[in-house]
Structures are given as C-alpha cells and as structure tokens.
Amino acid sequence: DDEFSISDISLRLLDLSEIDDFMAWATDDKVSRTWETHYSSKEEAVNYIVDFVIPHPWYRAICLKDRPIGAIIVTPNSGIDICRAEVGYVLGSKYWGKGIVTLAVKMVASTIFFEWPHLERLEALVDVHNPASLRVLEKAGFQREGVLRKYCLHKGRPIDAVIFSLLSTDHPHVNYFM
C-alpha cells in the first residue's frame, strides 16, 4: 500500500461521495498548521465541497491509485488580470516527503497554459516558515521573486509569504505533444 510509482499519481475532479477521503486531510492537524480550514464537521465539509470545490474553475483531487489524498487548486483572476493565476496545494501528512506535490504541480504547469491561453503567469504564495512547501516550487521550476511581509492572514495572524512564479515562456513545463 505504501509503494507507488509516478503513474499511480493522477489529478481529477473530486466527487461529493469522496467526502471521507476529503475529511482525512481536512482534519489533519499537521495540515491545518499550514492550510486555512474553514470547516471541522462533516456537514461543514459537505457545504464547502458543494459551495466551493464543485463550482471552482480548477480544483483537482491529487489521487494515489485513484484515491484522493489531497488537492491542487488554480485560482484565476478576472478582467484585465486574467494573465495571472495562483496555484495552491494541500496533501495529507502521511504522504509528505515523497515528491507527490512536486509531481502534481509539474502536471498542472504542463497543462494550465494550454487550457487557459490568456494565462501568462502562474504564481504561488508560501509561508516563509514552510521549507517543504518552498522546496516543492523550487523543484517544480518556479522562480522565487521575494518575500511579501505580513501578506496573508493565517488563523487571524499575518504571515510573511514568499512569492514564486512560473511564466508560460519558462522551461521546463513545456511538453510538445505534437
């Protein structure tokens, strides 16, 4: 069960019936130290999936052998800022340290610029005190641009966030399918 290969990791839509898999990472204490959770009960989680996950323009479950173990989300901007979108990710703590999130980010990077032709910049914001998450983006080929002081609130407290970007013109995401 612990052994897996790259081909066992996939991204796909999350189904409401997979609520228990979702709860596994949503109620994970180690995860909530780094990820804002707005729900603690199954009912709140169902509402979150119905109101946020399902209508979201790009929310994918990170799956191991087709079982959701986390999520990766790309949030677009509107109007004249559609050239820019933000990627965020979350993974159950028992799957940390195996390169799964890095792989998921690379998968997103290899398709999102084709799915959204107006997109020129994919960015990510990471707590400066989360070295594992910083490494994910470095390994996925993002460029670190700076530290934004007290940029986000996490559990009501402002945190310093490192901003990273990947441009449609950067390597190494470009895969020539033709």
């Binding site: 004249i80 800022d81 050239c83 820019r84 020129e120 910049r121 960015e123 460029q143 641009e145 700076g146 530290v147 934004l148 002081r149 007290k150 940029y151 986000c152 609130l153 402002p158 901003i163 970007s165 441009l167």
Partner: protein, 171 residues
C-alpha cells in the same frame, strides 16, 4: 518645496478645473490604470462618481489647490488587513519631493483611521524610476520583482512590489 504648503484632503467638486489640468496629461496617466480625462465635464463626472465616493482618495494640494492624488484601497474580505496605494501628481511638480511628503502624511493618517490595517503595498512598473524613488524616500521596502504581473495600457508588465507596514517607522 516648503512642506507647509503641501496638504492632503478629500476631493471637492470645486476642484474640477485643477483636477482637469493635471488629469488630462498622458505623461501622468501612462502608468495608472485609469484613462486620461479629456474634458471638464468628464473631470466633474469623475470627481462626482469616483474620486469623492471612494473609501480613501485624497487630493494632494499645493496652497489648497489640487495638483495630484493619493488613493488607498483595502482588499476585500479575508485580506482587508492589506491595502493598495496609488498616486500621481502633475508633471510640473515632479522631482520636488511633493508626493513623498504627501505619502508620509497619508501613511500616518490611514493607519490611525483603519486600525485593522497592517500592510500598505504599491506596484510600480520597471521603467517608472521616479515612482520607485518616491516610495523609497517615503520608507517603503522593495520586496521583489514580479514578472508579467499585470496588464496596463495594452501590455502585460513586470512590476516591483513595495510595502510599508503599520510597524514600520515613518522617516
């Protein structure tokens, strides 16, 4: 420039002529998201519909005549501890430290008015050196270079991001 001649205050409809005299200049609006004002009627309408109802927009005044503006716009919802700063001043007043003076006045005023405000930030295009100097002299910290960050006047542009925190010292 004698700093006692510079002040910031809300816009009034009676500022329309002064406002028009600087807002019609492309050299000022080229880096701003709003378009050059082309008539006195448009100037009056803009003051009435945009500048006066704005949550925090101030006229930069020289001897109580409007020569520019400073605008502070908090983000919505979960991010309202953070606000975006914009500014501009008539071309003939560039290079005299006027915007820097006005910014310092604005900073101390806005952190008092909005107690939940923690971070002011400004985005400046790479080639806009004058604006970068204004922020540096007002004590803003340059945090990074954001590649292809935003669309303005027909192009996607690289920008520097600067910030000033409620805990930073006004120099």
């Amino acid at each position: 420039m004698d700093s006692s001649r510079i002040s910031i205050r809300p816009f009034r409809l009676s500022d329309a002529n002064d406002f028009f005299s600087w807002a019609k200049d492309d050299r000022l609006t080229q880096y701003l998201r709003w378009n050059t004002i082309t008539s006195r009627e448009e100037a009056l309408k803009y003051l009435k519909d945009v500048a006066i109802p704005h949550p925090w927009r101030r006229s930069i005044c020289l001897d109580d005549h409007s020569i520019g503006y400073i605008s502070i716009r908090p983000e919505s919802g979960d991010d309202q501890h953070r606000a975006h700063v914009g500014y501009g001043v008539g071309v003939e007043y560039w290079g005299q430290g006027i915007v820097t003076m006005a910014l310092k006045m604005a900073i101390s005023s806005v952190f008092k008015e909005f107690s939940y405000l923690v971070r002011l930030e400004a985005l400046v295009e790479e080639e806009n050196k004058g604006s970068q100097r204004v922020l540096e002299k007002a004590g803003f910290q340059k945090e990074g270079f954001l590649r292809k960050y935003g669309f303005n006047k027909g192009e996607i542009r690289d920008m520097y991001i600067y910030s000033f925190l409620s805990t930073d010292k006004i120099v």
